[in-house]
């Protein structure tokens, strides 16, 4: 068993009540019965006051009094119950998004309340106007509407007013500018008309507009938050820990996020280095494939810079944690990422492009209406009222919903296909791509080795070995543990340093590890004779014995997905940091003619720049630290969830599961989504072509304005629902979710 993890960095102490709180991300929840199992299991532990599971985002909050409960005992208890748990700290981004969502929902509630109650008065006025309402009653109703509308709009309009103000200050044009202008003018004019006991006021239109637009934003935020919480859980469930050496030389295992710059970290053989740093002591061989894409091992010693994600194979290392230093690979990657990201941030979104055309046209139309009415002899008051009516009726309700509504539906569809969208404009950029560039290691191939001789071993032994492997942190054992159907590890498993792991189950000794440790040398030699590039792990249960071969494998549907992309006329290429022979083999297996090997991060960017010069728009798919600049530089980018941290941050979307099919789904769904967005913008244009002449000639009453606005918003929203189906040609022939590993599929379900 690995030593207990020191979780003290994640415990929140409430000084007032004396309660300690710990949040954990839980893996393995697959039905509602798990709620009771977990809450009762933890709640019965002595000292625990509250255990509450959030079934939606799979997180458990535990509270206890004083020092009664050891936090690692909670994690151990969860393991016994069959769940893997990792301390969870909501990322700053997620906290901001949660706060933003609560604010948006409050705005939505207030504008909804105001819209309903103002409509109560408006309907009375409209029906009164055609029957026998007195002007005193009408004025009273208008004043009551103003009393509700003004404070409600002042509060609920904040999201739009703020953005509009920011855009104006930066001399930008976004959709929020005409929205804010329309709302303010509608309210101002209605107030003026009420003061003068006029027949028409537009309080209901202004507030209803706010309500519809807020509804769009809330849905967008809900989708974004859902995606973010799944991504954050997956991060936490990677369960990255580091062994920290304090000044007295004592070692304790802590979650990676608790490690600070300047700390000394111990890395044992078989562990992944969890931090960026410089080796202080020790000699070892390392596999840096997640960093450089190379599958060859490097020899390293004191003074060498190492990067998070590197696998330590040989000996024990002491690593001093450092920030990026000048001249290191990480520094160069960060610099290239910043440069590339800067170029991409200049991409202009479809909605903003529409706003740039729309605003001047509408504002000029309003001005022309005003001047036109004055020229034919109307009073200044009537001319201005008519001009404002033009602005109110064109207030871009449908136009402002056209893109966000589609975005919500599309990112929901992507989520179902196993894709977590990170950059909101990623859909629009991915839709324009005509070339797909893959990294090899960890992208076309699986990040972990897979069992290669499944057919040759007894399935019962495989299951038992995999369950024993759950207790080990050795990379080969962890790869093997993916085969376990029951996720509960054996109790009292102990690690034998450098050899393997053993446990006694029902009086029978189980061993998993090197061939000599399991006394299976002859069997191992026989198995290895057939497959040279594989790693071997042996298992013994009493007298029975088995050896498992593990090796790098292509993702199961790689060939199929590549063929499907080619059939859709995407140009395909491989850019890899690995050696020529390894890349050539994969390229041949997949039939990709265009490939380059041995590339450094800057070389990958240069290769992408060449493609760009040829007029191609590239979707980059990669996972390594060395891919991060290319991911940021490409027109759009995708990373598997297993990717290095920097790559994660640079990708537009992450895909989960073992398959490569999400790449195809991303391209198909985003093309479809952009087509729907454009359709929606045209619907909005047609609506305006009908509504504007009515307004210009002064036929718009508040009743017509209310009907037109809600009608167009509903049409656009219904049309957006089409974006959930990919274009027929892009429809995957099988659901992607069935290919995701159990844990990830559960998280995404």
């Amino acid at each position: 068993m690995s030593p207990a993890i020191d979780l003290s960095a994640f415990i929140h102490r409430d000084t007032k009540t004396g309660l300690n709180r710990l949040d954990l991300a839980i893996e393995g929840i697959d039905c509602a019965a798990c709620i009771g199992d977990i809450e009762r299991g933890i709640g019965r532990m002595k000292g625990v006051i509250e255990a509450r599971l959030n079934y939606t985002n799979r997180r458990l909050g535990v509270a206890w009094q004083g020092e009664d409960v050891a936090p690692d005992a909670i994690v151990a208890r969860l393991r016994q119950l069959g769940y893997r748990a990792h301390p969870f700290e909501a990322s700053r981004q997620e906290q901001i998004e949660t706060a933003e969502m609560r604010f948006l929902i409050r705005c939505l509630a207030i504008s909804g309340f105001a819209a309903m109650n103002i409509m109560l008065f408006s309907v009375s006025v409209w029906s009164g106007n055609v029957t026998d309402i007195t002007s005193d009653t009408r004025d009273m109703f208008h004043w009551l509407s103003a009393l509700i509308a003004l404070p409600a709009a002042a509060y609920a309009g904040q999201p739009f007013f703020r953005n509009a103000w920011r855009a104006i200050r930066n001399r930008n044009m976004t959709m929020d500018v005409p929205i804010s202008l329309g709302i303010l003018l509608a309210l101002g004019m209605s107030l003026y008309e009420t003061l003068h006991s006029a027949e028409h006021a537009y309080f209901d239109s202004a507030v209803m507009l706010l309500f519809f637009l807020l509804l769009g934003r809330v849905l967008d935020q809900v989708m974004r938050k859902k995606t973010r919480s799944v991504a954050d859980n997956l991060m936490a469930l990677k369960g990255e820990t580091a062994v920290l050496l304090d000044t007295s030389g004592e070692a304790r295992q802590v979650p990676v996020r608790a490690v600070k710059i300047g700390d000394l970290v111990l890395v044992r053989p078989g562990e992944r280095i969890a931090v960026d740093g410089r080796v202080e002591a020790g000699q070892s061989a390392v596999d840096a494939s997640l960093v450089t894409g190379e599958t060859m091992q490097d020899q390293i010693g004191p003074g060498v810079q190492v990067y998070a994600g590197t696998l330590n194979i040989g000996g024990t290392l002491h690593v001093r944690v450092t920030a990026a230093h000048e001249g290191t690979l990480l520094d160069e990657v960060n610099r290239l990422v910043a440069q590339a990201a800067d170029a991409r941030s200049r991409y202009l979104r479809l909605a903003d492009r529409a706003a740039r055309i729309y605003s001047p046209v509408v504002h000029l139309a309003a001005l022309a209406t005003c001047i036109g009415w004055i020229l034919i002899g109307a009073s200044l008051h009537d001319a201005i009222i008519t001009a404002i009516a033009v602005l109110i009726i064109t207030c871009p309700c449908a136009l402002a919903l056209a893109v966000p509504a589609t975005q919500v539906v599309a990112s929901g569809a992507l989520f179902k296909a196993g894709l977590l969208l990170q950059a909101p404009d990623g859909i629009e950029r991915a839709a324009q791509c005509d070339t797909v560039v893959f990294d090899k290691t960890g992208t076309l191939t699986l990040p972990e080795p897979r069992i290669a001789n499944r057919d040759a071993v007894n399935p019962v032994l495989l299951e038992e070995a995999a369950r024993l492997a759950l207790s080990s942190r050795h990379p080969l054992a962890m790869a093997l543990s993916a085969e376990a159907h029951r996720r509960a590890p054996f109790e009292d498993a102990e690690e034998v340093t450098g050899e393997g792991i053993r446990a006694v189950v029902d009086g029978v000794e189980y061993r998993l590890g090197s061939a000599s440790f399991c006394e299976a040398e002859t069997m191992a030699a026989a198995a290895l004779g057939t497959q040279r590039d594989a790693s071997l792990i042996a298992f013994r249960r009493g007298d029975e014995c088995a050896v498992f071969l593990l090796k790098q494998a292509l993702r199961p549907d790689a060939a199929e997905t590549v063929a499907r992309l080619r059939a859709k006329n995407y140009a395909l290429a491989i850019l890899s940091g690995d050696n020529e022979a390894a890349v050539a083999q994969v390229a041949r297996a997949l039939g990709i003619a265009e490939w380059k090997s041995g590339l450094k991060p800057a070389d990958k960017i240069a290769a992408l720049a060449t493609l760009k010069r040829d007029g191609r728009r590239v979707l980059m798919v990669g996972d390594g630290l060395n891919d991060a600049p290319a991911l940021a530089a490409a027109h759009a980018s995708l990373s598997p969830v297993s990717a290095a941290h920097v790559a994660h941050a640079s990708a537009d979307a992450l895909f989960i599961g073992e398959g490569l099919a999400p790449v195809d789904a991303m391209l198909g769904l985003s093309r479809k989504a952009v087509r729907v967005m454009k359709d929606n913008l045209w619907i909005a244009v047609v609506y305006n072509l009908i509504a504007v002449p009515l307004a210009v000639f002064g036929h718009v009453t508040p009743l017509i304005a209310a009907a037109a606005m809600s009608g167009s918003s509903i049409i656009v929203t219904l049309s957006a629902l089409r974006a959930s189906q990919p274009m027929r040609a892009a429809l995957p022939s099988h659901p992607v979710a069935t290919r995701a590993p159990r844990s990830e599929a559960r998280l995404a379900s």
Partner: protein, 53 residues
């Protein structure tokens, strides 16, 4: 039309009551775990006397 003197305040205060109730439920975190709330109602083990030590 004197009926309006009662009806309008009644209508508005009912609306405000609903708004207040919604904002309270939002603040007390009742929308944080929508899937869980649906599943918990079927759980019979939440009675305190059935909880052994």
């Amino acid at each position: 039309m004197t009926i309006l003197v009662y009806l309008i305040p009644v209508a508005l205060s009912l609306g405000l009551l609903a708004l207040g109730a919604f904002l309270w439920s939002l603040r007390s975190g009742q929308y944080d775990d929508l899937d869980g709330a649906g599943a918990r109602i079927l759980d019979d083990h939440d009675l305190p006397d059935r909880r052994p030590d």
